[in-house]
């Protein structure tokens, strides 16, 4: 199914709903005990090419679930609605082709960095996609090595190719996790809680870095300062529904609106307005 799209629109979400299967009682596997907890309800939005969007909301609002759905990384049986990436519907048939255009950076870099060396992790996606296309560069050591070095230098890290990810600092792990997706140059980046657990300096550097990337980036965060600094557009989710989609600057200064959605002003305004 192809959708007629404006050339600028890169992501389109139509009537997306998602429910998690849960059990009411421990050790009870009967149908009566099974219930569905709705995590997303009737989500609709589009994202243009090169746009930077922040998805904010309180804990359990559905931010991560939405990102996982957009990246096709979640059980799709419990999903309703349609997601279009680069004009193609996201389904089983297109999923593996579309993934090449999507880079997903997980909240915890330990989930992303599973190899014994930084080199292997950064090269992993690139080698997979090249081999999938039977591109001879997938076997070209020099090409892969250059791409790995280039990706690491994009995140301001160099000379750590042979290091073991576990022994890097948390900030470095976050940067390497970003380099693992930059290596295959995806069109779209999804970042789940990119600023979590980072110290102020690393946080500032990380924001500066992702702001400078010329890609379509969607971040899910409850760091409202990050949303304010990072993007002009913010989507506010609450209880699985979009309650706001518009200008970051206006919504992130609206104390009453934020409070009604279990949020608070960004720390930078908190003192000024109170």
């Amino acid at each position: 199914m192809e959708v007629k799209v404006n050339n600028d629109i890169i992501i389109e979400v139509r009537n997306l709903s998602y429910a998690y299967k849960t059990s009411k009682r421990i050790n009870d596997k009967t149908d009566a005990a099974v219930e569905f907890k709705e995590a997303l309800k009737d989500i609709n939005f589009t994202v243009a090419k090169g746009e930077k969007v922040s998805i904010i909301g309180p804990n359990g609002a559905g931010k991560s679930t939405l990102l996982l759905n957009l990246a096709g990384l979640i059980e799709h049986n419990n999903r309703n609605g349609e997601i279009f990436i680069l004009g193609k519907i996201l389904n089983d048939k297109n999923l593996y082709d579309l993934r090449e255009n999507i880079g997903f950076v997980f909240q915890d870099p330990n989930d992303q960095l599973f190899s014994v060396s930084v080199f292997d992790d950064v090269a992993f996606g690139l080698i997979n996609f090249l081999n999938k296309k039977k591109d001879p560069r997938g076997q070209n050591k020099e090409f892969i090595r250059n791409k790995v070095v280039e990706s690491l230098s994009m995140v301001n890290l160099s000379g750590i190719e042979n290091d073991m990810p576990h022994f890097l600092s948390f900030g470095e792990k976050k940067l390497v996790a970003l380099a693992t997706v930059l290596s295959y140059n995806p069109e779209i980046l999804f970042l789940d809680e990119p600023s979590s657990n980072l110290d102020p300096k690393n946080r500032k550097d990380f924001i500066k870095l992702i702001k400078g990337l010329e890609k379509t980036i969607i971040i899910a965060t409850h760091d409202l300062d990050l949303a304010y600094e990072f993007s002009n557009r913010t989507i506010v989710l609450n209880k699985g529904q979009i309650v706001f989609d518009g200008n970051s600057k206006s919504v992130l200064q609206d104390k009453d609106f934020l409070k009604s959605n279990n949020l608070d002003l960004p720390l930078m305004f908190n003192n000024l307005i109170e």
């Binding site: 990384l73 599973f114 014994v116 080698i127 999938k132 050591k141 090595r145 073991m164 997706v181 295959y184």
Partner: protein, 263 residues
């Protein structure tokens, strides 16, 4: 004289700069082990040659010799205690006999020969493996396994186990601290009970972690196949020359054993 000195100087210089890659270390160690294990019982002079070869390998691998000796003696205790009953359980000419009430214990010459052979073989094997492990970083060793064409699924599983060993260790340490911080009375019973819960908790956490890792691999185009790129394959010629040299030495030792030249 001057020429000999310059050749020696050249050898020392080459030794200083030459890095044996993990693949070569693995091939040399495994081949030597294979030849060593195939030595028949009682060939002590051949085992002495393997011992000398083991020391030579340790020097070439540039392993910390003191560390090798320490680790070898420590690990040697395991085969020693396992094989301690061999002298009593083999048939042959009786050397010693003990009659302690209902127990008849006999030590045979055959038993002693097998016992000594097992001990010597295990000592040399441990020395060889220790030299390899001590002189090679873990990541290099795993890369070496890839290069000798161990199936990629097996290597990847070892890789991931190795990678997450530290994470699980850290999680376990955090869990233990969390338990200790809330135990206000010295009670080993309570502590042990909580540690059992912690083990269960770690298992659940590792399931979650495994699921997330799989998602992250899938998001980067993982289709069930692992593709590896070789790195650090410098000094190729010298490495291959070294393998050939060692194989020739091993064949020579086998010929010596077969023709009973030193017997």
């Amino acid at each position: 004289m001057g020429r000999t000195a310059s050749i020696l100087e050249k050898i020392v210089k080459t030794y200083g700069t030459f890095n044996i890659n993990a693949r070569v270390k693995l091939i040399i160690t495994l081949t030597t082990l294979f030849f060593l294990v195939s030595t028949s019982n009682g060939n002590y002079y051949v085992l002495l040659l393997y011992f000398i070869l083991g020391i030579l390998i340790s020097i070439i691998f540039k392993a910390n010799f003191l560390f090798v000796v320490k680790r070898t003696f420590l690990l040697f205790l395991f085969p020693f205690f396992i094989s301690i009953f061999i002298p009593f359980t083999n048939k042959g000419n009786i050397l010693l006999k003990f009659n302690i009430s209902f127990l008849n214990i006999t030590i045979t010459d055959n038993g002693i020969t097998i016992f000594l052979t097992v001990l010597l073989k295990s000592f040399i094997s441990i020395m060889l493996l220790s030299s390899m492990v001590i002189s090679t970083s873990d990541a290099e060793l795993l890369n070496g396994l890839r290069k000798i064409h161990v199936p990629s699924v097996i290597v990847t599983i070892i890789f991931i186990m190795y990678r997450y060993f530290f994470v699980i260790k850290e999680e376990s340490h955090k869990g233990q601290l969390a338990i200790k911080s809330r135990i206000f009375k010295k009670s080993y019973k309570t502590l042990n009970k909580r540690l059992a819960f912690l083990a269960g908790n770690l298992l659940i956490k590792s399931f979650d972690r495994a699921e997330n890792i799989y998602k992250s691999m899938e998001s980067r185009g993982f289709d069930g196949n692992f593709y590896f790129i070789e790195r650090n394959d410098n000094s190729k010629k010298l490495n291959w020359a070294l393998i050939i040299c060692f194989i020739l030495i091993l064949i020579s030792i086998k010929i010596i054993e077969f023709l009973k030249i030193l017997a």
